[in-house]
Subunit: 304 residues, 2 copies
Amino acid sequence: MNKFELHILGCGSALPTMQHAPTAQVLNVREKLFMIDCGEGTQLQFRRARLRFNRLNQIFISHLHGDHCFGLIGLISTLGLLGRTGDLVIHAVADLEKLLRPQLDYFCKDLSFQVIIKPFDHTKHEVIYQDRSVKVSTIPLDHRVACAGFLFEEAENDLHLDGAAIKFYNIPIKDLAGIKKGADYIAEDGQVILNNRLTKPADASRKYAFCSDTAYKEDIIPIIQGVDLLYHEATFLEEDKARARDTRHTTARQAAQIALKANVKKLMLGHYSSRYSDDSLFLDEAVKIFPHTILANELLLEKL
Amino acid sequence: MNKFELHILGCGSALPTMQHAPTAQVLNVREKLFMIDCGEGTQLQFRRARLRFNRLNQIFISHLHGDHCFGLIGLISTLGLLGRTGDLVIHAVADLEKLLRPQLDYFCKDLSFQVIIKPFDHTKHEVIYQDRSVKVSTIPLDHRVACAGFLFEEAENDLHLDGAAIKFYNIPIKDLAGIKKGADYIAEDGQVILNNRLTKPADASRKYAFCSDTAYKEDIIPIIQGVDLLYHEATFLEEDKARARDTRHTTARQAAQIALKANVKKLMLGHYSSRYSDDSLFLDEAVKIFPHTILANELLLEKL
């Protein structure tokens, strides 16, 4: 099965602590690494997760609060020292250009690669990246500053070959790639063997939705409907619901309500406020609404 | 004895690794904390060292390479979240203002305290900070960019009271503070008791010199002459001497030569290049020249 797995590098909130690093994740799609957010120290968490810098493909920054982007300059500086040559594309709101570029120009003068900042419109749900493996679109969120989540949709997987049938019909190797994509087989004598005789169904394409930071927002439900995994912020507990509303954050209970209404397969909570000493409080609150909930934690690897 | 002790928060070089964090130190002088350099992740190392953010007094930045200053914005942001009120003074070359201020204006808009950047002239050895406990002066260094080390000189310590003499002469408590500062005692009947009858010598004032990053530079020797502790960078081993020269760094052997010629009491090496797997190679090389050498390491506490 193709890789589609999520590494949590940090799941704390504004105040980095010894328990939680600030927000950063890496989604590994078929060995391409997509980074989501990049709080201070992300490059070190990346190393700790034993990820490979040369596999890093695109970076998606949800919003320009420090706990989601202060690690960019250090990461880029390190990529330079490691001799990266491929362009690095960062998707973010437009302000990142004016904030990051002067830093790059000063600290990373002789960079061996281009840093391309592609601005997105955080108010729209639209595709901002696509390749043969994955499509990424924005999810408009409701935070104190311009903020978007990201929906990662795996491209269609190849059909599985039916080994016995391939052998029985004596299909040449050169034709297998086409058959995996859905082609029928036409023998030299003109006989047609339909694709469904030669293959078994492809693995389902997987979807991952990242939603942080945001107030409770039902508008996102149609976008994240039925995803395999929803990461939703749960900065607060329900007892601090008013504070969550005022700061445009979510409680664990609210995150679970979103998961339930969107009928997702699994919910992962994160972005815990440092005011609570015990993360399990978030889980306790959420599972009452949506049982299939797990807690993000540093260096957690979740295979979708 | 008054505190005068050094916490190493990071002693790696440009490339942060799982072995070494980028450069950052804290000198505790009588419970005031003076930070030297602030690489990415310093705020977390500060927590790990169990230091108290509200004791942080002044920050000294040797030069504007990322591994010495990328942690500033995150640290300041955290100080804001913690509700700091006292001014934070950062001593650095003038460029820091234009680099850091736009970041502060964007990410730390409602800061509860002032960040004051005091530029220094890295080409001169001059006093840039002084209070009742300590005097800090710059040490011009030779690096690829404008760079200065820092000499911390403890203020004169109070004389120790001679308990038996104080009792014998029946000195009132109200006079003790003056006597500790060197005053004679004049009794009500006019009798003068000389200070040296009432006191024992004060503890010697201690000196700490931080020299990183720099090529081998004998000009610093008169400035750091006889200091209690010299932290000197040793990015390379002697086998990479040419590389050290080209990149304006020092080898462990050269650092030891400086220590020897400056007749310092103790040498601490740091700023190790990540190319070497074993830090003890630096020590082996240095002790042949200057035996009283130790290796910096994360969370090392060195009492002077």
